[in-house]
């Protein structure tokens, strides 16, 4: 079975927040990164500041990864709750490492137990109870096949700034871990690099989705940012506050999300490329201004890093339930572009694209990411800058003594050249009332129709120019599995596995939700069955596809505060194909 699937190992650590779960995971992740492995992480924090259950998952491989993995190959649990909550997510035949002084294993079928008195070793042998995290990380590193010296090096580097004493203790923890007797397990957790030459590049950087997004914005030419803190978009605000001045721009922490977007609209009116970032509740507050941006035709990129909704909801959990909000929110007929990246690399690419489209079409562009994508660390390749296309706004060149400049001039594709304030002869009023070509309020039916045509004409042009989705898997598929956002990785991996089993399954990832990529229709119509996978309750993408397509997609819509497992997708796909009986050779 592994022949078609690339070798990877998935590790999950679980325990009480503050116990070292996350730091232990990070030490391991850093070591894997330094050793040149691909990694992809998934983390979930409690919404409380201190305490609460938390877990961290990291998957490592010598090959690029699509998901952080469903079931863990190795589970590490520092306390009983971690053990009890996650034991069912351990792969059959997997290994569970647990603090033997804190956990009493009950009823563990088909798993290997590896009790280690982690706390005790840390306190007594290493001499520092806080070294638990390094100890656990080192045990894991050893299982993954990392040599002791390399891990010691990595730990040394990591703790150098805390002084020699701390380094010494932690290197001791590494030694202790490598001295332990390991259990006999039939599964081989070691990561190997046998076929590195034929492998796809795994990339030079390990970045979070949010960092990739900010980099994309800066490369895309963002010169102004305003935002208000909110999980999981706060780190975008923080990065922008730190970075933008160094890039010759300005960032402002606003008093609320309405102020944030209003600042952006002012800056855009003044000619700058602008962005704001928020999550669901803040996005809901921006709706009036989103419609305003659309009407006055100002470029702006609005990031909605989705979290569990509705209302304040599940602030630290993954969910993809703001699609309807992004595509439909706002009174009146309000055109906007909505992009949805599905990997950390796409967070970079589509942010650049978001700026290009916003500037090209003078329209608000919503970038829908989500908590999983925002916080995951993923190893990525970044493009050479020369290959990155950056578009600027088409500027107006009025006669210096021009009167009644036509800011909203009717053109072929609806885009009117933009006069930057300060340009002689370009004076106009940027107007949110319905207006004529000069920006003067005008409420006649003819004008309203013409202006709606102009505004939606831009979207139509965009729909013609942009593909907005990509396909993979079988060429003439019996079933197409459709996904968007972070869950698309799940679709990719599922299609990979299913085609590996000889099934005619294709995948489609939709990266542009508005304007809806109509060409997707043909592919979906040709397929015998369609399955839409998304992390929300009502099946918002399925409904959107239906709204534009006279076909009935099957739904797999689950909002359960976590990524939908590849297995679930596989199962439904097989049911749809009536292939339950197909024998999967082990």
């Amino acid at each position: 079975m592994t022949d078609k699937r690339r070798k990877s190992t998935t590790i999950r650590l679980a325990g009480e927040s503050g116990e070292g779960v996350v730091s232990s995971g990070q030490i391991l992740t850093d070591a894997l990164i330094e050793q040149g492995f691909a990694i992809l992480t998934y983390q979930t924090f409690p919404a409380e500041i201190k305490g609460g259950h938390c877990w961290y998952q990291v998957r490592g491989s010598a090959h690029p990864l699509d998901t952080p993995g469903d079931r863990a190959d190795i589970l590490v649990s520092f306390n009983q709750e971690g053990f009890d909550t996650h034991i069912d997510d351990l792969r059959s035949g997997g290994l569970i490492i647990y603090d033997s002084d804190a956990v009493t294993p009950v009823d563990v079928p088909k798993a290997h137990l590896f009790p280690v008195p982690i706390g005790k070793i840390a306190a007594d042998e290493v001499g520092s109870p806080r070294s638990k995290n390094v100890l656990a990380a080192a045990i894991l590193a050893r299982l993954l096949g990392l040599p002791e010296e390399e891990l010691a090096d990595s730990v040394t580097k990591k703790f150098k700034h805390k002084g020699a004493k701390v380094v010494e203790v932690n290197v001791k923890a590494v030694t202790a871990a490598y001295g332990l007797k390991l259990p006999e397990v039939e599964m081989d957790f070691a990561l190997t690099r046998t076929d590195t030459e034929t492998a796809e590049p795994i990339g030079a950087y390990a970045m979070t989705g949010n960092d990739a997004l900010v980099l994309g914005a800066l490369v895309g030419g963002c010169k102004f940012f305003a935002g208000y803190p909110i999980t999981p978009a706060s780190t975008i605000l923080e990065a922008m506050m730190r970075e933008l001045p160094a890039w010759g721009g300005s960032a402002i922490q606003a008093e609320d999300e309405m102020s944030a977007l209003t600042h952006c609209l002012g800056a855009s009116f003044a000619g700058a490329k602008v962005m704001t970032a928020t999550s669901g509740p803040g996005f809901s507050l921006m709706i009036e201004l989103l419609g305003h941006a659309s009407t006055v035709e100002l470029p702006v990129v609005i990031v909605d890093a989705q979290r569990g909704g509705p209302s304040t909801g599940l602030p630290t959990k993954y969910e993809q339930s703001d699609l309807n909000a992004a595509v439909y929110s706002g009174h009146g007929d309000t055109p906007r572009i909505v992009l949805a990246p599905s990997t950390v690399r796409e967070n970079f690419d589509l942010t650049v694209k978001a700026f290009n489209l916003a500037e090209h079409y003078q329209v608000p562009v919503i970038l829908l990411t989500d908590n999983a994508l925002a916080t995951r660390l993923e190893r990525v390749t970044l493009p050479d800058l020369n290959t990155v296309e950056v578009e600027d706004r088409i500027l107006a060149t009025p006669e210096p003594d021009e009167k009644h400049y036509k800011r909203y001039k009717f053109t072929e594709n609806g885009v009117s050249p933009f006069p930057v304030p300060g340009t002689p002869g370009g004076m106009y009023v940027c107007e949110g009332l319905e207006h004529d070509e000069t920006g003067k309020p005008n409420y006649t039916g003819e004008n309203h129709v013409a202006m709606n045509n102009k505004r939606y004409g831009k979207l139509e042009d965009c729909a013609r120019r942009e593909t907005g989705y990509y396909d993979f898997g079988a060429v003439d598929p019996d079933l197409v599995i459709v996904g968007w956002g972070a869950i698309a990785g799940t679709v990719r991996e599922a299609v990979d596995r299913l085609t590996g089993e000889g099934l005619h399954v294709g995948g489609t990832v939709i990266t542009m939700l508005s304007p809806f990529p109509l060409a997707v229709r043909d592919r979906l119509r040709k397929a015998k069955k369609v399955l839409v996978v998304e992390g929300n309750y009502t099946g918002q993408l399925a409904q959107l596809i239906e709204a534009y397509n006279p076909i009935v997609p099957e739904k797999l819509a689950v909002a359960s505060a976590g990524l939908i497992p590849v297995e679930s997708v596989e199962k439904v796909a097989k049911r749809l194909l009536n292939v339950q009986e197909v024998q999967v050779r082990e």
Binding site: L215, P245, E255, A270, P419, G422, V429
Partner: protein, 294 residues
């Protein structure tokens, strides 16, 4: 006009014909603003006028300038950002009492705190004009309107006091019936480096005629009022017998545009030794790191 390029006449500031009711105070406020602009010889293409929604907020159309008719209540954050992006523009935010102190109230203190170098002109008629006569935040207690048939019971907002409470760097009040003083105040406001707030009492003849009240209670601030004395200014602001006019308060604080410019310089300088984390990656990708000397 090209011969007199350097000289702007009053008519160079005229935009569309105002559509206010005959007798509306806003005509005079507009006149004062245009006179102040002419006095300062602001080039119309270097002028940005940003407003919310209301009768008064229609003003961008009546001035020959770059205008931005924002949504209701949100002129200030956009005006501040215009100045940050392009400090060379003269930026005026304008609107009504409802726009500024009802739906826009959340932005006023924060704009005051950041101190962008812009002028904020509120045409205060103590009523909602455009929506046809509802009680506004500055309507006096006891007023009967379409929305307070049982009498307005709320304490009115005192805009001057509000500005002073947040240490607004320039605070003044004028009245539409004294165009000369109002012009002078607007000139001073524009010249002041920082956020300048000017409340212009501007009666609405159609829905709430306050001409008499303005005439009877307005009074120039005494010559000897010290504009750097915040507590003294507060005393005049709290006076309920007289509606004092003139400059209440004036203080020099770093402006938002100064701060953002300073941060850029600091950061660019640091780029040479230790670029920011993402700037490092950018350099790796083949990007040129901007520095203070480049």
């Amino acid at each position: 006009m090209s011969e007199q390029q350097q000289e702007y006449s009053l008519k160079d500031y005229k935009g569309l014909m105002p559509i206010w009711c005959p007798g509306c105070g806003d005509f005079s406020v507009l006149m004062a603003l245009q006179k102040a602009l002419q006095h300062r010889q602001v080039a119309p293409h270097k002028l940005a006028v940003i407003s919310g929604i209301g009768c008064s907020s229609r003003i961008p159309h009546f001035i020959n300038a770059y205008g931005f008719h924002m949504v209701h209540g949100r002129s200030l954050p956009s005006a501040a950002a215009v100045k940050v992006v392009n400090p060379e523009l003269e930026v005026i935010a304008a609107g009504g009492d409802g726009d500024g102190f009802a739906i826009g109230m959340g932005h006023f203190p924060h704009t005051v705190r950041r101190n962008p170098n812009i002028t904020y002109l509120v045409m205060d008629n103590e009523i909602y004009g455009l929506t046809k006569g509802q009680t506004s935040p500055t309507s006096h207690t006891g007023l009967v309107t379409k929305t307070t048939p049982w009498e307005n019971a709320d304490e009115p907002i005192n805009p001057i006091m509000t500005a002073l409470a947040h240490n607004c760097s320039f605070v003044a009040r004028g009245i539409s019936t004294d165009v000369k003083q109002l012009t002078q105040l607007l000139i001073e406001a524009m010249e002041h480096p920082g956020f300048s707030f000017v409340q212009a009492m501007s009666p609405c003849l159609t829905f709430h005629d306050t001409y008499e009240m303005v005439r009877n209670t307005s009074k120039d601030l005494p010559e000897d009022h010290d504009v750097t004395d915040r507590l003294g200014a507060i005393k005049y602001a709290l006076d309920t017998d007289n509606m004092w006019t003139g400059v209440f308060y004036k203080v020099r604080r770093p402006t938002l545009d100064e701060v953002t410019t300073r941060n850029k310089l600091k950061a660019l300088e640091r780029n040479t030794k230790s670029p920011t984390p993402l700037m490092k990656i950018y350099a790796d990708m083949g990007g040129k790191v901007p520095t203070s000397t480049s």
